[in-house]
């Protein structure tokens, strides 16, 4: 049996997280994405800001993560009471040509080259009182993925970090009980990594032949 204790007390915080009724359902954000980005970059100048699809992403270094997340929670203007989501994406090393059905879309093929594989972990921070949310992106090498845990800041990260550990093998330092959560305890490998085989069984065919299952991903099928 695991020793999870979800009822841990959090880091001390002055006042209450609860927004007042007047601010909770306003339907309008009090801060623009630019204002959020500015507020963060004032404090953390090295943060890389990216805006796309009407969403804000802040790329930070793993060393700054805990300080940054704590700042976003405790800052009066950002006031992110809720960690909405925490997920991972694996970007494997190597050179990939991304084919995009050029004949129909007209979009050119493009080439991606990475020296090191990266596991990108995305944190969606939400302010209930200010009604805004944005994303923090942090990368770690996929050969020995390791990040600081944010469970002390947001206890809700407990299950999320266990899930990212389960699927990507990211070790969150400081997590109270980093065990697998969705896969069986004795499972080998981390299934959402792009180097994990897709599985499937051989299909029997005539003349005692067997056809192996397809093992193609978007990245694989176009690697030269």
């Amino acid at each position: 049996m695991s020793e999870a204790t979800p009822a841990r007390s959090t880091a001390p915080r002055v006042g209450s997280l609860v927004p007042t009724a007047s601010t909770g359902v306003s339907g309008r954000s009090s801060l623009t994405l630019d204002a959020i980005a500015q507020r963060v970059t004032e404090r953390f100048p090295e943060v890389r800001v990216q805006q796309a699809f009407g969403e804000l992403t802040l790329h930070v270094e793993p060393d700054d993560l805990v300080e940054m997340v704590t700042f976003c929670r405790d800052d009066d203007e950002l006031s992110c009471e809720l960690l909405s989501d925490l997920s991972g994406v694996h970007w494997p090393a190597g050179e990939h040509v991304i084919a995009r059905q050029t004949s129909t879309t007209g979009w050119p093929e493009y080439r991606v080259s990475r020296e090191h594989g990266v596991i990108e972990v995305l944190y969606v921070l939400r302010s209930v009182s200010r009604n805004h949310h944005f994303r923090i992106s942090v990368g770690t090498v996929d050969t020995a993925p390791r990040l600081p845990s944010v469970t002390e800041i947001y206890p809700t990260a407990d299950f999320h970090e266990r899930e990212v550990y389960d699927f990507f093998g990211v070790e969150f330092e400081g997590h109270p009980d980093l065990t697998r959560i969705l896969m069986p305890d004795d499972w080998i490998g981390h299934p959402h990594r792009k180097d994990y085989p897709l599985g499937g069984i051989d299909i029997p065919y005539k003349n005692d032949k067997f056809i192996p299952p397809p093992n193609e991903r978007d990245l694989r099928e176009v690697i030269d």
Partner: protein, 442 residues
């Protein structure tokens, strides 16, 4: 003490309570090692994964001091089916058929959130008719989901009448869904770019009649439960959680609103045209199971209110975007052979334009490509914030689809809510969280 699997239950139970403290009179398998590991009255009990009140295959490990819960550890994963991973090797349209099977009590929410994420990446906005139909179906789905919660929750507390009521009305809603999509559940009816097909001709009358029926039947639930002393005794002051703890543990939806925070994504960050409808976000301050019951009842009423407004403004027009690179044929009618088809479309691709046939063939076999990027799209599902974090690299398949499942996150609060309460209250705590294991394990 060594474990002897052949041991038979020994001795007759001792007669007095004092004897009970000293002697162990149950033996067999590894039970004694479990008992030895804990002291005094503390014991550890497995509830589930095959327990009728755990809503599927949820395993709860309870540390008990006598009858009082000192710790509850939820253990999940028994229903993990790898839906997120499956979507990575299928086209964007096929993705809807997978995600709809996660939260099987509110499938339309999964479809809608996945399609909204895809449409955000594509940069398309669906036609108004599709948007309004989506809202109507989503709100009907919220009522259906809350009805199942009421039915199963009531049954777990011994009220089979409530179960009959809940499932009876839900069946009417599922009939409506079946008439539109062909399936009672797991519809795959909401598609990137709009809907799979237009609604039936009698959709308006049928929906209006159904809302009237539901509004009438709502009174039955209130008459039966709101003043019911047994219902009060089982729910009031059970599973209390305050707003601060909710936010720290990431709890959203009715549980958060029952603790006093008027947070609803339909109001806060409107999607699918929710800003056009008038509705209230009900809140309570008690934060106990009874408050959550009242919140869900009121939410059903508000959903009916939204449906009535949406039925008034339902415009005509297409239900799929007018972009041949994305749009599947959707203006279908039932042929003499009993199969739905789009005759005009078929005439066009088979008789008029070779290019249209090629386009159709490529669209169906390869799917459309989606521009590269990352989006996070949340919707307000019956259980809380359902978020889709979708990554595209510009191909015809998603690169990564992550689902922020409300049941999964809310389940973390079960420990806080159950501590200090009796074993029987654990049933109430889990029921009032309303987890769906398909949503938890994905």
């Amino acid at each position: 003490m060594a474990i002897d699997p052949t041991a038979t239950p020994s001795a007759t139970p001792p007669a007095t309570a004092a004897d009970l403290d000293d002697d162990i009179y149950v033996e067999g398998a590894d039970w004694e090692s479990v008992v030895d590991a804990v002291s005094d009255d503390h014991i550890t009990v497995n509830m589930g994964p095959q327990h009728p009140s755990t809503h599927g295959v949820l395993r709860l490990v309870l540390d008990l001091d006598g009858e009082t819960v000192t710790r509850l550890t939820p253990i999940v994963g028994y229903l993990h089916t790898g839906i997120e991973k499956n979507t990575e090797v299928r086209t964007w349209v096929q993705g809807t058929t997978f995600v709809t099977r996660m939260d099987y009590l509110s499938p339309f929410y999964n479809e809608a959130a996945f399609c909204l994420a895809t449409e955000k990446l594509l940069g398309v906005r669906v036609p108004e008719r599709a948007e309004v139909v989506r809202v109507i179906l989503l709100e009907f789905n919220r009522i259906a989901s809350h009805l199942v919660w009421l039915a199963t929750g009531g049954m777990e507390l011994g009220s089979t009448t409530v179960m009959e009521f809940g499932f009876r009305e839900r069946e009417h809603i599922l009939d409506l869904f079946e008439a539109q999509s062909g399936l009672r559940m797991n519809h795959a009816y909401i598609r990137p770019g709009g809907l799979a097909q237009d609604v039936t001709d009698d959709f308006l009358e049928r929906s209006a009649a159904l809302v009237d029926l539901l509004a009438e039947r709502m009174r039955d639930y209130e008459d039966l439960l709101v003043e019911n002393p047994i219902w009060h005794a089982r729910l009031k002051n059970v599973g209390r959680i305050d707003a601060d703890t909710c936010l720290r543990l990431g709890v959203t939806g009715p549980v958060l609103r029952a603790a006093g925070v008027p947070w609803d994504l339909r109001k806060a960050q409107p999607y699918s045209g929710y800003e056009r409808y008038e509705f209230d976000v009900p809140t309570r301050t008690e934060g106990d199971s009874f408050a959550r019951f009242l919140i869900r009842l009121e939410e059903m009423r508000q959903s009916m209110h939204i449906i009535r407004q949406a039925l008034e403004v339902l415009p005509g027009g297409p239900v799929m975007v007018d972009d041949k690179r994305i749009a599947w044929p959707s203006q279908q009618s039932l042929g003499a052979d009993g199969i739905g088809n789009d005759p005009d479309y078929i005439r066009h691709i088979m008789g008029e334009s070779m290019e249209a046939l090629i386009n159709h063939f490529k669209l169906v076999t390869q799917g459309f490509t989606v521009p590269p990027g990352q989006v996070y799209v949340p919707v307000e599902s019956p259980r809380g914030e359902l978020g889709y974090a979708v990554t595209s690299i510009g191909t015809n398949k998603p690169y990564r689809v992550h689902v922020r499942a409300p049941s999964f996150v809310n389940l973390q609060a079960a420990d806080v809510m159950a501590r200090g309460q009796g074993v029987a209250d654990v049933v109430v705590v889990v029921a009032s969280l309303d987890p769906v294991m398909g949503d938890v394990d994905r």
